[in-house]
């Protein structure tokens, strides 16, 4: 088996794909359908689509849009943004999404448990957004605007116990930084739980992805690494070939 490499696509309020830095400075990337078609051709492992303002704007998911997007995806698709309950998630699954990504709602153990019971743990991912404050990692909500006193390890154990089958560990400080994942954060959370941890926030190139796996992540995700090329961050949708990935992982000892 080979660890997954997951492009994360961010939707703005008008359903355009954007990329952020530290959760702001949105840069336009392209039309979601075009990008998904390109990623289909590149045979990506999985994609994760996040409607980044849905929660803050208290917007409901556009189910027609999600169904249309899902119909273009011949790879696993996870979707997040504003999902607060089983009632919110049910039509998203019906639209053809494999896995829902919970942000704030992942703290609500009753909802996580209800989703896992209905759809299975593998269909429920908890996205834990983290920010480093005074030398301590802390979990944040609402696009990083609400900082909690909880540390990511405690949060990860809680969502796993509630029934989440996967943890997307997002480092807000490194969002868009393209200088690599934070080793301390990734390894501490990966060691603390038995479910797969997906590292997100910081990767800029293939070597960073391999590093993330060595830190203990089961899968690695990135926005920037697959949409920008070069120092000037020109927009170009890329994804490594299966062969390139195998070679890289073999060299780095990340593949099993």
């Amino acid at each position: 088996m080979r660890p997954r490499i997951i492009p994360v696509l961010l939707l703005d309020s008008r359903k355009r794909l954007v990329k952020t830095r530290r959760f702001s400075e949105e840069v336009y990337i392209g039309d979601p359908f075009n990008v998904v078609r390109i990623l289909n051709e590149k045979e990506v492992d999985e994609i994760c689509v996040l409607d980044i303002n849905a929660s803050v704007e208290e917007r409901r998911s556009d189910l027609g849009f999600i169904a249309e997007l899902a119909s273009e995806c011949f790879m696993p698709l996870s979707y997040g943004g504003g999902i607060k309950s089983v009632a919110d998630a049910a039509p998203i699954f019906a639209a053809g999404v494999e896995k829902v990504v919970l942000g704030r709602a992942s703290s609500d153990s009753v909802t996580v448990r209800a989703l896992a019971d209905s759809y299975g743990s593998q269909a429920v991912a908890a996205c834990i957004d983290c920010r480093r404050v005074d030398n301590h990692w802390r979990v944040a909500f609402d696009r990083g605007r609400t900082l909690t006193n909880t540390d990511p390890v405690t949060q990860a154990i809680a969502v796993e116990q509630a029934g989440a089958g996967e943890i997307i560990l997002q480092n807000i400080d490194r969002d868009g930084a393209q200088n690599g994942y934070d080793a301390g954060l990734v390894s501490s959370v990966s060691e603390a739980v038995t479910v797969p941890v997906v590292a997100l926030g910081g990767a800029g190139d293939l070597s960073h992805l391999a590093e993330g796996l060595r830190m203990g992540a089961s899968a690695v995700a990135s926005g920037s690494a697959f949409v920008f090329i070069g120092r000037l961050r020109a927009v170009l949708i890329t994804y490594p070939s299966s062969q390139d990935v195998n070679e890289l992982f073999k060299k780095s000892g990340a593949a099993s």
Binding site: M1, R2, P3, R4, N40, E43, D45, E46, A67, A70, S71, C73, F74, M75, P76, L77, F93, A94, A95, G96, V97, E98, D117, S118, Y119, G120, S121, Q122, A123, G165, E166, T194, V195, P196, S218, A219, S242, S256
Partner: protein, 204 residues
């Protein structure tokens, strides 16, 4: 027509989309009559064994499924949990499976030294048996898996493919007109397209 069994479990639209993409019409059905006149049946499934089995039983489709599959020998493909339901039982639950494949489902417990996490979510190469109908023997086979439980078959002859997850794990089963795949062909790019195409073309 290709008929995807709707008992309230599984990603039906993804299957429909992929069949359409490779040029076949498929329909979703939850009535006995449609199951009995299907050319091919697909039994999807995600989530917990008991929940899915209870829903299938609650749908009252099992008698017509038995008639379609066991008597009329309409080809059936179980996908993911849909494959596990073909067996006798699962460690995950208490209810009985369909019992069409001589096998039981158990939790995957890879040795800690492999450093593998359960559920396994990801891609794996499948090594198929030389007689496997749904695979192109000798070419690359890569599929997307998401599972915590694995099927164990009584008879080697029912194992159509294996993948490695800290040891060999059954990725596909086959018994007469009954097929099952642990992975998600509808989410496995051209590899899945080819497999679904073979199911339609080769299974009768």
């Amino acid at each position: 027509m290709i008929t995807i069994i709707n008992y309230g479990v599984g990603n039906l639209s993804a299957l429909i989309n992929m069949f359409e993409f490779i040029g076949y019409d498929a329909r979703i059905a939850d009535e006995s009559s449609r199951i009995l006149d299907a050319s091919h049946l697909v039994l999807p499934g995600v989530g917990a064994f008991d929940a899915a089995m209870n829903r299938l039983r609650g749908s009252r489709l099992i008698p017509s499924l038995e008639q379609a599959v066991l008597e009329r020998e309409i080809p059936l493909l179980g996908v993911c949990l849909g494959m596990q339901l073909l067996g006798r039982r699962s460690e995950e639950g208490l209810t009985k499976g369909l019992g069409w494949i001589a096998g039981d489902t158990v939790r995957m417990q890879p040795e800690p030294s492999f450093n593998l996490k359960v559920p396994f979510m990801g891609w794996a190469g499948v090594e198929c048996s030389p007689s496997a109908t749904l695979f192109d023997v000798g070419s690359e086979q890569r599929f997307y898996f998401t599972h915590s439980y694995q099927m164990r078959c009584d008879h080697q002859s029912n194992i159509a493919g294996i993948h490695q997850f800290g040891g060999p794990v059954v990725s596909a089963v086959q018994h007469k007109n009954i097929y099952g795949v642990q992975f998600h062909p509808e989410k496995s790019h051209r590899f899945g397209m080819r497999l679904l195409g073979h199911f339609i073309e080769r299974s009768r």
